[in-house]
Amino acid sequence: MAAEQERLLRHRIRSIRSTQKITRAMQLIAASRIARAQRALSMAEPYVARLEEVVQELSNTPEASAHPLFTGSGQASAVVVIGADRGLCGAFNSSVLRMAEEVLGDDHVRSPLVVGVGRKVQSYFRFQGAPLAHAFTGFADRPSFEDAVRVAAPVVDAVSDGRVGRALVVSTRFLSTGNQRAEISTLVPVPAAGEAGHEASFEFEPGPETIMEELLPRWIEAQLYAALLESAASFHVAQQRAMQAATDNAEDLVKTFTRAMNRARQDAITTEIMEIVGGAEALRQAGRSEDLLGQPEVYVFPEAS
């Protein structure tokens, strides 16, 4: 009985150990990818920041401020939901998806154009019976600028031909290695910056329309690129943390089961000894009952004499 239990436990411990090897490997891989993702993020930062500056500056000019990038004409909204391609990353995907549901349930968001990034996002919306207008998968953990351009394309089209007046992004912001949060950010319209009355006068070459036509896609691409990079970095942190927890948990389980296994083995040994002792005692009892009037029960220890 106890021996059987011991065998089962030994088997279980072995299986936990091999799972632990996998989770530890995943943890280390994720940790190394955090650094890479952060590097990509810091490389992109100047581009995004400078472009933001340009857009802010132009929002003060009379020529450009009438453009849909700043006015947000049109009723419908475009929503870009950025998640991950894979799971095993704690609540990373579910917190983004929960926030996306919140946004899509909002009354202000009418007939939205939903664009999803990541296999998990795609399968979630398919399961909900509301497939995405555009789904992009396969690069969520390592996005390139070209990927951002592809994701931006349907949004840019919808904004420039006036189908949507607002473009939102639901994604995980990478605030620091210890702090990531799912957030909603607005790509379009860009709020006019600065003080009223402070009108900058710019020389446009070529005309303002052509410039704004060029700036709109650049702006959306850059913003999405930043969002994709932040999401990827956050994904790796979430995965590292989840796998760390799994590895620790496996360690605890191994400890618990090892203790149980040792007890089971000890039980088996005790039972066996009891059986031997019991058997011997039974034999002795049987022998004694044969010559009840035999020698008195006095044992003399040779050392004591």
């Binding site: 400078r50 500056e57 600028f145 020389e203 070459e205 410039i211 650049r218």
Partner: protein, 110 residues
């Protein structure tokens, strides 16, 4: 000589950030040069070369082998007569408050 702040950035990194005497680039309307205190300006860049004349900083390390300091760098100190050249593949140039910002999709040292 008066200088202007110059930022040349691409999505994969900042290529130049520092002061310079002059920036020459090609917009859709033709070549244009920006000296210090140029008026506010926005233009579309054509694919071509952006020249940063009299730079005071080394180019950023955005890309691989192309970014090693070339012979131009080794020239006379003082920043005078030196220039950095970057090949850009279209982009935007914006000038205001004595600052020239070039944002381009991809750029490299020729």
């Amino acid at each position: 000589m008066a200088t202007t702040q110059v930022e040349l950035v691409a999505p994969d990194g900042a290529l130049y950030s520092g002061q310079a005497e002059m920036v020459v680039c090609r917009t859709s309307e033709g070549d244009i040069a920006f000296l210090a205190n140029h008026m506010a300006f926005v233009g579309l860049l054509e694919a071509g070369t952006v020249r940063i004349v009299g730079p005071d900083a080394a180019p950023g390390q955005a890309q691989g082998p192309g970014t090693q300091p070339g012979p131009l760098q080794a020239g006379s100190g003082e920043g005078h007569g030196r220039e950095l050249r970057f090949e850009v593949e279209g982009g935007l140039v914006e000038v205001h408050n004595n600052k020239v910002v070039v944002t381009c999709r991809s750029a490299g040292r020729p």
